[in-house]
């Protein structure tokens, strides 16, 4: 019972002592709140912020690098495809040009042949004409000879016929 009734007892609230506890605790709390803890809080926060920021930056940079490399790969693939396309087109063009050339050459050759043929035909025609004129002249000459020689009709006819026969044989 002694310890529960005494002024210095176990379960009693000692006002003077309580005042000391309250007063000193409040003073120390105030000092901690005002001067001691805020710099630590700010330092920790600064460090954490910086770590978070650098992590974020690193992640962003990594994503960027990945994007760039992906873009590069894509560009490379595109370039390859384009190169192949260009090569193919070039080959096709070359083939086309070759074919055109060949065709043109054939055509030219054919044209030349045609021209030659035409010329030959013309030459032939002119030669025939010349021959005809020549024959006609010869006929006139022969007629002249016949008239000059005053041969009988029978004989002259025979002469003409034989002449013409010879002529056709000649041809």
């Amino acid at each position: 019972m002694h310890y529960f009734l005494n002024g210095n007892a176990l379960l009693s609230f000692d006002t003077g002592f309580g005042f000391w506890v309250f007063f000193t605790t409040i003073v120390f709390l105030w000092a901690m709140n005002k001067w001691l803890v805020p710099p630590i809080m700010s330092a920790l926060k600064e460090r954490e912020d910086r770590i978070r920021e650098s992590l974020e930056t690193a992640e962003k940079a990594l994503a960027e690098a990945e994007k760039i490399s992906r873009n590069n790969e894509k560009a490379l693939k595109d370039a390859e495809i384009t190169a192949q396309k260009i090569r193919k087109e070039a080959l096709e063009d070359a083939e086309k040009v070759r074919n055109e050339r060949i065709e043109k050459a054939t055509q030219d050759a054919e044209k030349l042949l045609e021209n030659a043929r035409l010329k030959i035909e013309q030459e032939k025609k002119s030669a025939l004409n010349e021959l005809r004129n020549h024959v006609a002249e010869l006929a006139v000459q022969s007629a002249t000879i016949i008239i000059k020689s005053e041969l009988d009709k029978e004989k002259s006819r025979h002469l003409v016929d034989s002449f013409i026969k010879d002529l056709s044989k000649k041809n």
């Binding site: 210095n8 007892a9 002592f17 005042f19 000391w20 709390l29 709140n33 803890v37 805020p38 920790l44």
Partner: protein
């Protein structure tokens, strides 16, 4: 060198073991009372006990009968003739016999409280200086002590303050929670020293700490906090007749529970240890010296086990006090969302919305 250290340690051990024994024999002859003063180990004293049982008597100052009195220690107060020892061990006025109205004497528990507060401030100051230099701010924390400090500080900040308080307000209360935690932890750990006492085993200390928590809680309470005390939203008016007194009572039971929990835990630990060691004397008296000393091995082992438990409890109780302070403050400074009638239902709805 090693020889000197060994010699010094042996001397120290000798003094530690025989100092209390000699003192106990003195006490026995003086008071002729129980071999161990159980309550004396936990109650407050007008002297500060040093390591070898040496006592430093502390100054007394008190207000009595309209006058302030200052004395070097209790004995000088008694010698002055103005005060005499009362029946219950305290000091009373010599002329009227009434007890002292307002006792502002420095006591042993107050010394331990001051030591704890000074240690807390000193540690924080040393750590703060390092942070100001840039260690821990620009680089990682260096050194074991700074790392331990930071572990504790970040633990208080993240696991206690941030966990139970609104995200935009918790920073304001970190200094309070950290100081309270460190101070209580130091006071509890001082109680582990055989010659020292835990200031938290004193109801006045725990009650005052609880009052400070109560003041911090109520002074920072939001409108919503008071609204929930006096006009509970979403409750029929007649129910307020019951609810309001319960809520008002709740304001005070919270710090009351804080004070009693810490006080009872710290008190019981010390009493348990002293009582179990006291069983050696009880057994000696009952069954003779041989059995008393032999059973002493068992009691000492049990005490060692209890000591580890006490060390654990010292930190756990500091944690629990800080945690509950944080919870109470967090509840008071919370801004409730009044769009919803029932907060738990509203939370469930919010979660459901977020998942969709």
């Amino acid at each position: 060198m090693i020889y000197v250290v060994r010699r010094a340690l042996a001397t120290l051990f000798f003094l530690i073991v025989f100092g209390p024994v000699l003192l106990a024999s003195n006490a026995d002859t003086e008071q002729n009372s129980a071999p161990i003063d159980v309550m004396g180990k936990v109650t407050d004293h007008d002297y500060f006990e040093l390591i070898f049982g040496a006592k430093v008597y502390l100054p007394r100052m008190f207000y009595s009968g309209g006058e302030w009195y200052f004395f070097r220690d209790t004995y000088s107060a008694l010698d002055s003739g103005e005060f005499v020892r009362g029946e219950e061990g305290g000091i009373v006025r010599a002329d009227t016999g009434e007890s002292i109205a307002f006792d502002l004497s420095i006591t042993s528990h107050l010394i331990y409280l001051w030591l704890s507060l000074i240690l807390t401030v000193f540690i924080t100051f040393m750590a703060g200086r390092k942070y100001k230099k840039g260690i821990g701010r620009d680089s990682e924390p260096k050194g074991a002590l700074l790392n331990i400090f930071e572990t504790l500080f970040v633990f208080i900040r993240d696991q206690i303050a941030k966990e139970f308080m609104p995200k935009d307000k918790y920073e304001k209360f970190v200094p309070f929670l950290f100081t309270i935690f460190m101070c209580i932890a130091f006071m509890n750990l001082f109680g582990l020293l055989p010659w020292a006492a835990a200031a938290t085993a004193n109801l006045t200390v725990t009650a005052t700490l609880a009052i400070i928590t109560f003041l911090v809680t109520q002074l920072n309470g939001t409108k919503d906090h008071w609204k929930h005390v006096f006009v509970f939203p979403g409750v029929p008016k007649w129910a307020l007749i019951i609810l309001t007194p319960v809520e008002i009572l709740g304001l005070f039971t919270k710090p009351f529970a804080l004070a009693i929990r810490l006080f009872a835990n710290m008190l019981s630990g010390k009493i348990m240890i002293v009582c179990i060691l006291g069983l050696i004397f009880v057994f000696t008296e009952l069954f003779g010296a041989a059995i008393g000393v032999t059973s002493g091995v068992f009691w000492v082992l049990l005490t060692v086990a209890l000591y580890f438990l006490k060390a654990l409890v010292a930190l756990i109780q500091a944690y629990v006090f800080t945690l509950l302070s944080s919870v109470f403050i967090g509840m008071a400074i919370e801004e409730h969302n009044h769009d919803h009638e029932d907060s738990s239902v509203a939370n469930a709805k919010d979660v459901a919305l977020q998942n969709h």
